[in-house]
Symmetry: C2
Subunit: 219 residues, 2 copies
């Protein structure tokens, strides 16, 4: 469902440039649970941002569910992304002016759900990540791990077929982290494709396969 | 050096309120390495923010190095904080318009260092956390773990006597995380007081003592 052929990403920085990814080739099957590990700065988030169609590669070919991403316009890319991909950002990226319930409902707004249905689905998933008592808190009135769980809930609420989770348990205690991993495993049982970036070996080993990145290359 | 006597913190939230800390009593000796663990939302960051004089308790007494914090004005509090405390925030709190070197130099600007000395000390500590090649990057051009290391460097650059680290290794791979813990252990050898919030048991066990929080209380 995801095919990378010699994907590279270069960030221009004045005279120097950063080669964050160097000729990455990778295939992910539908319904596979893949984990990505590697040192800080090795290119994991850059790889995830390209898979999630948030940034374009500098060179190489990316085929997502049969679609050649380089031939799609920004609008078409946004449509594919909103429909197929649930993205859990390493920095959460919650909207500060909305409370937890409204943040989680955003993908449902894009999908054209009624506001009643939005509240129901958002409330359900926030309860499943342990935040029933924090639905009306804005991000700045939530703890780090609570914000992380709102970001997880938002990514899963409209049942996407591909889940991209960039270090989703870094701010969570062991028990809460395991509850989140259980949710991912349930989604995988339903045939979803999951790609998990983590620094936690015990989480990575729940996947079908682990890919290691170092200095922008797959080891 | 740090004495809490029945410290409570209540966040008002409309009709309800959140009792984030409930009658916390705690003593930390000078030169002690204390670790704080507990579930997400249990009050760890709130406790650290009160220790670091960033927020005032709702009730109870806090004595920092013999000073009764409730009797200090905001200005006096800021002076104590800048001089004695190095704070590593869970959300990093880097300034987006400055590069890594300028962010790290901020405590030295407050302390009245020359700009030459600022660049020397900041450069040295950024190199010691592995970021020699990223000094001119702004936060939005750094990876999550690189931003975290800039936040660590900024907290340590002016050699504070108390280091408050709120989950400083959540975005770091195992090897980089261990390098950071080694820096903390060196500082402890020099007689600094270190308080570390972490969800990682292996990091917590490097401390002299572990305190567990649950629902705003010490177990
Ligand atoms: N400004 C605020 N207003 C209202 N509630 C708040 C505020 N800040 C924090 N809280 C609540 O207080 C509780 C304690 O928050 P705190 O950030 O101290 O937890 P924590 O132990 O650091 O959690 P984590 O491990 O997830 O970072 C949380 O349930 C949170 O929702
Ligand atoms: N916008 C940018 N401009 C320039 N360099 C960048 C930019 N974004 C990232 N980088 C650099 O590219 C490299 C890879 O970044 P990336 O965020 O993919 O790493 P990562 O593996 O996710 O790291 P971490 O585990 O710390 O989150 C880093 O060294 C970083 O400094
Ligand atoms: Mg990253
Ligand atoms: Mg916290």
């Amino acid at each position: 469902v995801i095919q990378f052929d010699k994907i590279s990403k270069v960030y221009p920085m004045g005279e120097k440039s950063v080669e964050a990814l160097q000729e990455i080739s990778l295939e992910v099957e539908e319904g596979e649970f893949l984990s990505i590990m590697g040192p800080s700065g090795s290119g994991k988030s850059t790889l995830m941002n390209i898979i999630g169609c948030l940034t374009r590669p500098t060179s190489g070919q990316y085929i997502l569910e049969g679609l050649d991403i380089s031939r799609l316009s920004s609008d078409e890319l946004a449509k594919v992304r909103n429909k197929k991909v649930g993205f859990i950002f390493q920095a959460f990226n919650l909207l500060p002016r909305m409370d937890a319930l409204e943040n989680v409902a955003l993908p449902l707004v894009y999908a054209g759900c009624t506001s009643k249905r939005q509240r129901e689905l958002s409330g359900e998933i926030l309860t499943s990540v342990g935040l029933a008592d924090r639905m009306n808190h804005h991000p700045n009135k939530l703890s780090g791990g609570e914000q992380q769980r709102v970001a997880i809930a938002r990514a899963l609420v409209n049942n996407p077929s591909i889940i991209l989770a960039d270090e989703p348990t870094g701010n969570l205690d062991t028990k809460t982290g395991e509850e989140i991993m259980r949710i991912f495993k349930d989604m995988r049982q339903q045939g979803k494709t999951i790609i998990l970036v983590t620094h936690d070996q015990s989480k990575a080993e729940l996947a079908d396969r682990i890919v290691y990145l170092r200095d922008g290359r797959i080891l």
